[in-house]
Amino acid sequence: MSDIPAPRFRAATEEAPAVRWTLICLAVLGLAVLVFAPLIAVFAEALARGSAAAVASLANRDAQAAIRLTLTIAAISVPLNAAFGIAAAWFITKFDFRGKAFLITLIDLPFSVSPVVAGLCIVLMFGANSLIGGWLVAQGWPIVFALPGIVLATMFVTFPFVARELIPVMIEQGRAEEEAALTLGASGWRVFRTVTLPNIRWALLYGVLLCNARAMGEFGAVAVVSGKIRGQTATMPITIEMLYNEYLSVAAFSLAALLALLALVTLALKTALEIRNADALAASHRP
């Protein structure tokens, strides 16, 4: 009876511990090299000459102008895209109409278009050589190489973010609650504020966070339309590029560190939202 194999105490639906730990190590190592190392590099390079030098480079006039411009762009484009996202999600999930899948594809389109091509589209439409752009410039409202063009380019690349987060959540929630509220005599706005909004607030917040992170960090599309005028149309990412190309490493990485901090805050909030949502989900599944 010596050919009976020794009993193994591993479940049949698990990998051997050696395999498991090899895979975990590969995952940790891969993320350490690919993701954590660049993140650490940003802060290490920013602080290469001490924190005083980093802070001093941020107090520079052009850096301050870039920060102000980036905040202005986000303050305009994020609320507009949030409004669009809510309207689009309401239209798509509360009504039945032909061509819905096509409409969703069109909304997702900016994700498949290169940011540089997006910028190019804006230049061709509103540039001084175009029909509309020429007229607008004659009226004294230049779009390209000015704030409106940068806002348009930013809105193009961040266009789907909020709608994309809201649509699946609102599909899952269905229409019954809204219909009940309407039956009880609530007005449309009241239904939205007191029934729909509380249900979608976390998805909305998450979509706005992602949209904001991308709006402040957009480079390719903005590089094409901004004209890169120092102190006027140079956003934070554009200023980072200019400083880097002038070998002002500490200044470039200090601005980069600010944007990296924004990314970290975004991810932290996202993780917090997920933990919170997991709790809410578990609570709603409880009998």
Binding site: G30, F95, R98, G220, I240
Partner: protein, 278 residues
């Protein structure tokens, strides 16, 4: 024509939500893309072909696609591994790892670009290591590959993770009961279930990599015919106010993007038919 265009609904806000949606979609996305297509139509397929059919343009397009494909393939394998580890295994630091997967989405591309260059340049931490081994990474095609891997990293993991979470243990138990080894179960039971999601993630990573600009230009070196990517070529043409050439290359890239979008949709239709849901 039995179906009405829009069904009647008791829910209010149809006009308002449809108006905002279609107006903003047209103004922000469709009209600008239309302007590009119109520009292309104005000098025809012949004109576009003459601009695109130059050695430098072909080299850039070929480089962008080849390296994007390699990067997306790397991300397909590593993304599957990462998704499996994050869903199935419990170990300290798992949540931090899970959050870190999204960093390439949240970190601005220009920031990623200069950070990767600082690491992989000959005087950087990894670059010095590679130099000692006689290997140059930054300012070569390897540098572009690494930047494209970085920007495409989250796609496969994020599309595959929810599918792994939904796999019912009974399926694996049944397979094990019937005498399959763990490796056989993973290969013939689990992997086919993940294929549609993994392919979608792969296509998304590929589409993102082809159009990527910010994270690549710093590390690429941008030598014509060798390390010059297609989006950079558009920027160069625009800086020389050569709008026609920029538009021609832009249309070529746009058509390629549309083709990939179509492929993603076909994959989803195919997988829905095969599995019943996505």
């Amino acid at each position: 024509m039995g179906k009405p265009l829009i069904h009647r609904s008791p829910i209010p806000g149809l006009g308002l939500s449809m108006g905002i949606t279609l107006t903003m979609l047209s103004l922000i996305v469709l009209l600008p893309i239309g302007a590009l297509l119109l520009k292309g139509a104005s000098y025809g397929i012949e004109g576009i072909w003459q601009t695109v059919n130059r050695e430098r343009v072909w080299a850039a397009l070929f480089l962008s696609f080849r390296l994007s494909l390699f990067a997306a393939l790397f991300n397909l394998v590593f993304g599957l591994l990462l998704a499996w580890v994050l869903v199935r295994y419990r170990f300290p630091g798992r949540r931090i790892l899970d959050a870190a997967v999204d960093l390439p989405f949240a970190l601005p591309t220009a920031v990623a670009g200069i950070a990767l260059t600082a690491l992989y340049a000959p005087n950087g931490v990894f670059g010095a290591l590679a130099r000692d081994l006689g290997w140059k990474i930054a300012y070569t095609q390897w540098g572009i590959f690494i930047a494209l891997v970085f920007v495409g990293l989250p796609f496969v993991t994020r599309t595959v993770q929810p599918v792994i979470e939904e796999i019912e243990r009974e399926v694996e138990e049944a397979s094990a009961t019937l005498g399959a080894s763990r490796a056989y179960t993973l290969r013939h039971v689990i992997l086919p279930m993940l294929t549609p999601a993994a392919l979608t993630g792969f296509a998304l990573a590929l589409a993102r990599a082809v159009g990527e600009y910010g994270s690549v230009i710093f590390i690429a070196g941008n030598i014509p015919l060798v390390t010059e990517i297609a989006p950079l070529l558009i920027v160069i043409q625009l800086e020389e106010f050569n709008y026609d050439a920029a538009a021609a290359i832009g249309i070529a890239m746009l058509l390629i993007s549309f083709a990939m979008l179509l492929a993603i949709n076909l994959i989803q239709v195919w997988s829905r038919r095969r599995i019943g849901h996505v």
